[in-house]
Subunit: 216 residues, 4 copies
């Protein structure tokens, strides 16, 4: 019915209001001291209404984080793969890093949700949500790397092995971009993105064992 539909839409809209309000309030180093009441006020609803949508404050954190990664994944999957695997990887990596930069408001809450103490407290269903995303990212990146190896563009090593270094660089790049700070200075973000992407590609192409002779 039209009435039911409208109610559902209003309900969904309020949920967005809550998440948006929270996200904006969380964009500060003091974010952890933002109270549920402040979120409710910012969303222009009552405090109790928040709990119609989320069972706890931490569930809001989790939801923002899941939304963040879910949107990233969906963008990545719709990436253009017509080009060579190197260029494809470059664009995917670049996009992922820029996505983090463009959604920097999420950074504190996303990092919080990765912490062990958060996961210890989190409801099992939330943890499942995170695990599912992990698996999807895993699958996506594995395919990307394997394609490069198959095409002879990346060094022919077990994917398991090459992903270690790749993961390190990627995680560190995000961390540093979000921190905005490196080697005692503010970073120049565009340059940082490009340098990190090329670093990843260099690692993917490199033949690890014999490299001194090859390069030297």
């Amino acid at each position: 019915m039209g009435i039911l539909e409208r109610k559902q839409r209003e309900f969904a809209r309020r949920e967005r209001d809550i998440l948006d309000a929270a996200l904006n309030l969380f964009d500060s180093d003091d974010w952890l001291s933002v109270t549920v009441e402040q979120i409710a006020n910012a969303a222009e609803i009552g405090k109790g209404t928040i709990y119609k949508h989320f069972p706890s404050k931490e569930a809001i954190y989790a939801r923002l984080t899941l939304d963040f990664y879910g949107a990233l994944l969906s963008h990545l999957r719709s990436a253009d793969t017509e080009q060579g695997s190197m260029e494809t990887f470059r664009q995917v990596a670049r996009f992922a890093l820029r996505y983090h930069l463009d959604h920097a408001k999420f950074r504190r809450v996303v990092q919080y949700c990765k912490r062990g103490d958060f996961k210890n407290r989190a409801a099992p269903e939330l943890l499942q949500g995170f695990a599912k995303l992990d698996a999807l990212f895993d699958e996506f990146s594995t395919a990307l790397i394997q394609r490069g190896i198959d095409e002879g563009v990346f060094a022919d090593r077990p994917v398991e092995q090459v992903r270690y270094g790749l993961h390190a660089t990627f995680e560190g790049a995000i961390y540093t971009l979000w921190e905005g700070y490196c080697w005692g200075k503010d970073i120049e973000t565009d340059a940082f993105v490009e340098a990190s992407v090329e670093f990843m590609l260099a690692g993917l192409r490199a033949v690890p064992e014999m490299e001194p002779e090859v390069t030297g």
Copy 2:
């Protein structure tokens, strides 16, 4: 006098007791809920005595973090530099990563002290301590890289630029080693250390702009 000296030694010893007690208590996901009283009990002193040594609880965090990085730096500086710059870098990087693994008890407090909200609250003198360490690490790593470039082992690029990718990989490697978890699975630490080190070296050697032709 002997008396004065003994008193000073006792005082210093108590400080160590506090820091050791805190460090052990902090080795848990619940570390943030460790109270000053618990630390005092574990150190077998009164709660008030802690405040003779540290102006605040967060000062203990800062001190542990400074100690952690200070010790790392001093170890790195005493590294053997007799070998070629590539091998020297490899050993330095490997040592730094292993050092983080070997001092995993520090991981939560060290990560906490990097957070923006901590730095906002921190006393200026503490921030100076961190800045000084940053500068020393900067100086040390710059020298290492520059030597490799000068010897023709690393690609000839502005140090500023190459350090971006290097920093990303290094930070991400530490983060992941401490997390113990990557791509949805527990990591195999030895392999992870080696993969990360070689990834860094690959990035340092690679000629970034023309690589498609070179490798393909």
Copy 3:
């Protein structure tokens, strides 16, 4: 009309559903934390509908209590009075105690409604309901005792006086039966009922002032 009648019947039926649902949910030590929503769910109606039948949650408590005592009274009044006054009293008392045991689900809410804080908050009309029941029980028990005195079976004292002890034993028996616990042990209910009834009869028969000589 048939339609009107059916509506009334449905309405009354819903009220029963609410009361039954509430009563079942109240049969637990946690009964005070049962929410209106839980009652509504158990009664398979909407939360708002409850308020079409009862002006407040406490009105449900009051209604259950009034129903409980009302049913007891109506049973007592229809008791067989053909036997002697002692046996009649014995049967009435036994029935009243067993009635409490058989309706133990009511115990928490009935006791709650006796509390002073409840009565302070209660609407005047509810208090009138309780007062009316009190008066009817008063009348009923007075008649029963007076009959025993008139027949020379109970000691000849002012009814006012004898009822004090009787009331104490009766109230205490109910309390203890509902509690199920006495002198540090679980009670054996049948024995407890009989012992209490005989205790009441002993008190009713006893000549208070001179008894040492009489019995000794």
Copy 4:
């Protein structure tokens, strides 16, 4: 040392202040809505200080109740037992009832602590405290009754059995005295105490099985 002793005395004194303040505030039908802050204010200490003495608000309830029963027991044990067992029982029972009247401020909290939901939440050590008191009261009353039986003053029945009715009357008397209300009217307390005590004695003396013939 004098210093240590003084500290202990001050500490104990504060505990008394808290308990006294709480007791006074609890002497109202609204007692459950008395907040910890109100108690702290009334005791002229900080809210946190309360928690140095009691782990929770409910622990204050429990403590008051234990104090109440502990003092009663110690009074009862020091009762004069020189007289005959009937007179001794009469005086003990009378004292116990009057004690409840004289400490009516305790009545709400004492009744609260008997409730099942309270006991479900209570710490095991508290429950042990209650169980211990139960056992001591049990022992005391058993001895009193047995003495009456041995002296031929009370009917010769198993103590277990006679205590059922006695317990009912006693519990009910206290409940009613505290309520102040019986058969729809305010009670006259002195008369109620005497009537209840004589009721208990009548029950103790009565020969249960054959009484119709004996009395009629």
